[in-house]
Amino acid sequence: MEFAATLVQTGVSTSFDVAPIIAILVLFQVAVLRRRIPNLKRIVMGFIYVLLGLTLFLVGLEEALFPIGETMATQLTAAAVVDPAAVSVQWEDYLLVYAFAFAIGFATTIAEPSLIAVALKAEEVSGGAVGAQGLRIAVALGVAVGVALGCFRIVTGTPLPWYIVGAYAIVIVQTFRSSRTIIPLAYDSGGVTTSTVTVPVLAALGLGLAASVPGRSPLIDGFGLIAFASVFPIMSVLGYAMLVSLISRLHGANMGLRRRSQP
């Protein structure tokens, strides 16, 4: 019964989130475009699927994953404290936290619906040259490394801008060495990673860690993990593209050698 109530409640709040989008679409359709939308029936059906799917997805996360994920983040960060009275913190004490941050960053990103959407579109637009799975794994690895590094930052208490501005510098250098076609997609992948699944878990992790490490304040140091999770995927997608082109170039060179060696 309680479950049904949550379901209805989430359904209503999801509809409220979608309402402004539908209002804008209808307004412009009626006032400006005044043109029949092709396959309107199918599109309405699709919207109903999206609404229903998102509601079920959120309810399920709320029931199954978030409570355990959040408790886990708190327990892991608390377990790492060896001596609460210690003045200085050894960053090695938190190895388990970094491992958890890496794993959960990767796993939540793979499940992120907006990333799935962009990856599908990228595969379609590129005619299969950019694989949806490869892109998602590259993004997820970027988030994983970023979140683990973000936890390291909270533990050591080093300033956030060093990391983020440093990451920008690397992204800029990579941009000038990458193929032009991948750059827009790589920049986009930074923004889509932190959404429905990732943000609540990362927020719990950041706040839990900042609260348990001596000398850190959850209010000041708890922020920043989302920023890490948005910059590092840009780096990993650009890196992945560079790796793919390098491999194909090496492969091409090998083929060329082999062809030449034939009599």
Partner: protein
């Protein structure tokens, strides 16, 4: 009918595969590392079924509804040649989808807490609510502006990386002058603005625009709207922190 049923079954299998890593990670840390049994196993199982079904339905709806709609709108605007209307549409879409975003509301409330703690605003509920509300408006406006700028870029064919790198430089310079307590909030605000329904719609819009305008390449020009939507909030929130 059988074909759409077949597609739905495949979506379920795909959703299960997408969620497998999260289940494995949580199960591993719970059982092997923390060495605790699963609390409320029946509830967790029910929740997982919901998550898998929800993701499968969402992806199906994406292909049926959101993607075709975004592209249809882009084509309609280009065919009608209404650039001003397109700008109005994109600004309202950016603002309207961001202002009610739950993640943003949560971050705004926390940011108000930080500002009160740091003494930037009075530690009263009224001051906090006002701060959170203003921050939300600032972010929503910045996303509206971002999408307009992004669409303008597609129309004009400007190279994306120059604009984004310029934005990075601006963020870096502003970081030097912004008060410490706003920096974490500002950096995070870039990531929370793009919701699960906005992203597919905006992506399809960009790709649709780039493919219906002559001389634009969907791969080069179609993507990048989301990148703007995650960069401008950082600049605007930093500016807000400097003003308040």
């Amino acid at each position: 009918m059988t074909r759409s049923l077949d597609a739905l079954v495949r979506r379920f299998a795909g959703a299960l595969r997408d969620l497998a890593p999260i289940i494995i990670v949580i199960a591993f840390f719970q059982v092997a590392v923390l060495q605790q049994p699963f609390p409320n196993l029946a509830g967790v199982a029910l929740g997982l079924v919901c998550v898998v079904a929800g993701l499968a339905l969402f992806i199906q709806g994406l292909e049926l509804g959101l993607f075709p709609l975004g592209e249809a709108i882009a084509h309609a605007f280009v065919n009608k040649g209404r650039a001003a209307a397109l700008r109005a549409f994109t600004i309202s879409l950016g603002f309207g989808t961001t202002v009610a975003e739950p993640a943003l509301i949560a971050v705004g409330a926390e940011a108000a807490e930080v500002a009160a703690e740091a003494g930037a605003i009075a530690a009263t509920d009224e001051a906090r609510l006002r701060y959170a509300f203003e921050l939300r408006m600032v972010v929503a406006c910045s996303v509206g502006l971002a999408i307009v700028l992004g669409v303008l870029r597609i129309l004009k064919g400007w190279p994306l990386h120059r604009l984004i790198i310029g934005g990075y430089v601006l963020v870096t310079v502003m970081t030097l002058f912004a008060p410490d307590e706003i920096i974490g909030v500002a950096y995070d605000s870039g990531g929370v603005t793009t919701s699960t329904i906005t992203v597919p719609l905006v992506t399809a819009l960009g790709v649709g625009l780039a493919s219906s305008i002559k001389g634009r390449n969907p791969m080069l020009d179609g993507f990048g709207l989301i990148a703007f939507a995650s960069l401008t909030p950082m600049i605007f929130v930093l500016a807000y922190g400097m003003v308040v």
